[in-house]
Amino acid sequence: MVTPSPISTQNIWKILEQVTDPEVPVLTITDLGIVRDVKLNGDEVEIIITPTYTGCPAMDMIAMNIKLALIENGYPNIKITSVLAPAWTTDWMSEEGKRKLKEYGIAAPDKKFEIAADGVECPLCNSTNTKLISEFGSTACKALYQCTDCKEPFDYFKCH
């Protein structure tokens, strides 16, 4: 058991910054904007989260990972509250998150492509000579592309 740092929302946020998304492990839940608020009610730590997509199967796992991370850091009294409004949007994704996505080989959400269409920049060779293969990719949040120049397939994290 780690001796907990003094209970403060700032310390809790630091712990949450270490919790990653199980489906896109390069992103943390704070990069994604899933954590909406942290509240302290006496000894209890309340984490307010919002799902990315309605049917995202990762949400239950994310809630569990938050609990585990907080317990490991000495905060056993945890309440996770899921809220739907306001609806999550990719506008909440941090710039750091977008940079990490690209490094990982996934094109980051791009306002020019609110509706997925040909031309999203290839995260591998930076060409915009790319083709939309399918609006629905390997997870609900991604669309599938192929780069016409480097020929590699890649995922695009859709604007939402």
Binding site: G55, P57, L84, S134, L144, H160
Partner: protein, 245 residues
């Protein structure tokens, strides 16, 4: 306890669950991998919607109701989904057409539902609307591709229209609980029809002349298909009550 609101939330939940189940039947059977993934993604979105609605209904009902008891332990006559969503998948064209009819309807419905005085219902709708926008665009594009495709794909779409058109009227016939606690669906009909007409025109398909419209699903009077869907969907909880994993 507001019974008409509970019935309304269950109606919305059942619509999403049953169509999710139907679409999931395509898993591993889609015409090509990308479209197999697309239809199952849509299934997952719908399943997520139904979970949100069932969770909300369970809160309104209280007692021991849970999202699982509502999905797995109600009988056919208690399900309030419209008849359209329980119709068999048929071929890819029929599945696409069913999705298009329903997504076009759901899009208009959720637009209104965002302003419902029940805040949780409004939040669920606002969130799901973003996803339904994708479903509508994707299914519209497929209706156009198949309708304006080959002779065979055109014929199959025409057959699918014959098969499904009679179930579209019910979408706009309000059940009592919708009148009391829901959105006035009769107001959505003209806009929906305009959408169908514009997509059909591009797809070189015709909107049927006035035909008989079957209803009943919203009040629990279903086609024979629903029983078979529930038999599969509820098998585990019926056979091993309370099973968890």
């Amino acid at each position: 306890m507001n019974n008409s609101l509970i019935d309304y939330v269950l109606h919305l939940a059942d619509n999403s669950l049953i169509l999710a189940q139907r679409n999931a039947e395509w898993c591993g059977h889609g015409p090509i991998l990308e479209q197999d993934i697309a239809i199952t993604n849509i299934s997952l979105d719908l399943l997520g919607q139904s979970r949100n609605f069932y969770q909300h209904a369970a809160t309104l009902i209280g007692n021991d109701a849970t999202e699982d008891s509502l999905a797995y332990l109600r009988t056919e006559r208690e399900f309030k989904n419209c008849l359209l969503v329980e119709q068999p998948n048929g071929d890819w064209g029929q599945t696409i057409l069913r999705q298009f009819f329903f997504s076009a309807y759901q899009f208009l419905l959720y637009e209104k539902l965002q302003a419902h005085k029940d805040e949780q219902l409004a939040a669920i709708a606002a969130k799901a609307l973003k996803e339904v926008t994708y479903h509508m665009r994707w299914s519209s594009e497929w209706v156009i591709r198949l309708g304006d495709g080959t002779t065979e794909s055109h014929e199959r779409m025409t057959k699918a229209i014959d098969e499904l058109w009679r179930y579209t009227g019910e979408l706009f016939m309000a059940a009592d609980y919708e009148k009391k606690s829901g959105i006035d669906v009769s107001l959505l009909k003209d806009v929906w029809m305009k959408k169908v007409e514009s997509v059909f025109e591009e797809a070189t398909l015709s909107v049927p002349e006035k035909t008989f419209m079957q209803n009943g699903g919203k009040t629990g009077v279903h086609t024979e298909h629903l029983g078979y869907i529930l038999t599969e969907l509820q098998y585990l909880q019926r056979t091993y009550p309370g099973a968890e994993w």
